[in-house]
């Protein structure tokens, strides 16, 4: 635990040591703002809620989170520091967890900086703040799932661009898997059980449920187990590279 924390601290500090943190946070805030107020018709809806705000989060995360995750392992491999890190007395699991937590916390910081939107809606009306808290929790969990996928893809290559593209593609499949675009591909040949399973993996479907203000334990479990699964794969990938 101690080592995980030390690695997470170093990793988080390195986000802020470069312009990456600033660029990411500014772009994230600008885009959430633009989507909420222009595309989401926040005012025209005439409702005191943040659905217009949260509805675009999966799409923002799809691009922005692989961008945050891509450097986690690929950069270490490229610069050779992975050899330093993995010869320190830390386990692969501690390193994987530490890196993931740093990146996730970083997303949490960006997400929490959207609080003026929350204040705005409270000034303008009387929203159901319970729904908003649930949506924030759901959004943060979803960000974690995207991040775990991104971290794992980053461990597979030393090329950050490749890590980004693969991570974005996998995230896209998970986001879209509930929609006909993806399901039609499977309908033709897969048994209904598999199609249903694929549909149930959809981030959009899960996040829609959370946004309605119902934090179902199954939705939470879905994101948490997805995070656990991809981090496990991440550990395996790092270990495999050692014996390759």
């Amino acid at each position: 635990m101690r080592n995980t924390w030390i690695i997470a601290k170093r990793e988080l500090a390195s986000y802020f040591a470069t312009p990456l943190a600033l660029v990411f946070i500014v772009i994230f805030l600008a885009l959430t703002g633009a989507f909420t107020f222009y595309m989401g018709n926040f005012f025209a809806r005439g409702q005191a809620d943040l659905e217009a705000f949260f509805r675009f989060h999966p799409w923002l995360y799809l691009i922005l989170i692989p961008a945050v995750a891509m450097r986690l392992w690929a950069e270490e491999r490229k610069s050779g520091t992975i050899e330093l890190l993995m010869t320190l007395p830390v386990t692969t699991t501690q390193a994987v967890l530490g890196k993931f937590l740093a990146a996730w916390v970083f997303c949490g910081i960006a997400l929490s900086l959207t609080f003026p939107t929350w204040i705005t809606v409270n000034v303008l009306g009387e929203p159901d703040n319970g729904v908003i808290v649930a949506s924030y929790v759901g959004s943060f969990l979803m960000a974690g799932a995207f991040m775990a996928i991104g971290a794992c893809m980053s461990a597979m290559t030393k090329n950050q661009v490749i890590a980004f593209i693969i991570a974005a593609t996998v995230c896209f499949l998970f986001t879209m898997s509930g929609l006909e675009l993806v399901l039609n591909f499977f309908h033709a040949w897969a048994p209904p059980l598999i199609v249903d399973t694929i549909a149930s993996l959809s981030f959009l479907v899960r996040f829609d449920a959370v946004m309605r203000g119902v934090i179902d334990i199954r939705d939470v479990l879905f994101f948490v187990s997805l995070i656990a699964f991809w981090l496990l794969v991440n550990v395996i990938v790092v270990e495999l590279k050692k014996s390759a």
Binding site: I7, R10, S14, A17, G80, E83, M86, T87, P89
Partner: protein, 323 residues
């Protein structure tokens, strides 16, 4: 415990390529082992396996009694390792970087500052301690890497080309540091700078194509050179064929050859090579004195590490002439 590193039939295959082929050796406390070999010989791969970065295909290594396959964390805690190229986190300051290493190595509170201060003095990092590592010169970066590897005062130190890319003064500093630390530790350095072996190593191992070809003190290796203990004699005059014939007849001398490069402008020079590599300076001196010939210059050759290295690594044609 005197056997600090025990490498036992360590093998690494990458697909069809056998990078390290059943290497065995032992490093004891107080030894500085020079790990020599041409590029691609398997030096780095062996070191990476010994410190737990790569998993061996077969065989194992034990460091301070801990098996690197079964208990990698104990091995990593016991070793100080400087990877090839001395990688460091460029965006951190030297102080923050060393502080991070100290924390991961298990130090707390004020001890972190003490450890960082100690290595800062040892490798002379005072002037750059608050600068980001990526802004430093190559020499300083290398020293930061070195500082990282000795921060916890490890009993086993493994360094992959510690002086690569340093200027002669910096090389001297690093070698002095290694010598200073040698007494209580087992140190392994890989290098292809052969003068380094004579300068700091108490023992040298030569590998090529993943196989161990020679193991001995630098003196032992030099003795493999045909010119080891040869005597070069220069006369300020010519017409010394009688003397040369006389030297040839000495029982200790195997051959006397003319050195045309040195023989110019009336100067004549010869090299007398010994039988069995034994010292022949005394009989040669006695002979010259007995015949009242005074050489202008006379010296003993020690042999050349380069020649020995070439001889061992190129002559190796495979398993047939395994050393």
């Amino acid at each position: 415990m005197t056997d600090m590193i025990v490498i036992d039939k360590l093998t690494k295959r990458f697909g069809d390529l056998t990078a390290v082929d059943a290497i065995s050796m032992t490093v004891r406390r107080g030894e500085v082992l020079g790990f020599l070999g041409p590029n691609g010989a398997g030096k780095s791969t062996t070191m990476k396996m010994a410190c737990g970065y790569l998993t061996p295909t077969a065989g194992t290594a034990r460091v301070m009694g801990h098996d690197v396959v079964e208990n990698p964390i104990a091995v990593k805690a016991a070793i100080g390792y400087l990877p090839e190229g001395a990688p460091t986190y460029g965006d951190m300051t030297v102080r923050a970087f060393l502080g991070f290493i100290a924390q991961v190595r298990g130090f707390d509170g004020a001890e972190i500052g003490r450890r960082v201060d100690r290595v800062r003095e040892m490798v002379a990092l005072d002037e750059v301690i608050n600068r980001p590592v990526e802004t430093l010169s190559k020499g300083f970066k290398r020293r930061v890497g070195l500082a990282q590897s000795i921060l916890h005062d490890p009993e086993v130190l493994i360094m992959d080309e510690p002086t690569d890319g340093l200027d002669p003064n910096q090389k001297h500093q690093v070698r002095a540091l290694i010598k200073d630390m040698a007494a209580g530790k087992a140190i392994v350095i890989s290098t292809h700078i052969l003068e380094e072996v004579e300068a700091v190593c108490s023992r040298a191992v030569i590998i090529a194509h993943g196989k161990l070809l020679a193991d001995g003190t630098p003196e032992d290796l030099l003795a493999r050179d045909g010119r080891h203990n040869a005597v070069v004699i220069k006369f300020a005059f010519s017409g010394v064929s009688d003397v040369v014939d006389g030297l040839r007849a000495l029982p200790e001398v195997a051959a006397v050859t003319d050195l045309p490069v040195l023989s110019q402008n009336g100067v004549s020079a010869f090299r007398a090579t010994p039988r069995d590599g034994k010292s022949i300076i005394l009989p040669v001196g006695d002979y010259l004195r007995a015949h009242n010939v005074t050489p202008e210059e006379m010296y003993v050759e020690r042999g050349h590490m380069d020649d020995v290295f070439r001889q061992i690594t190129i002559a190796d044609g495979g398993p047939a002439d395994d050393a």
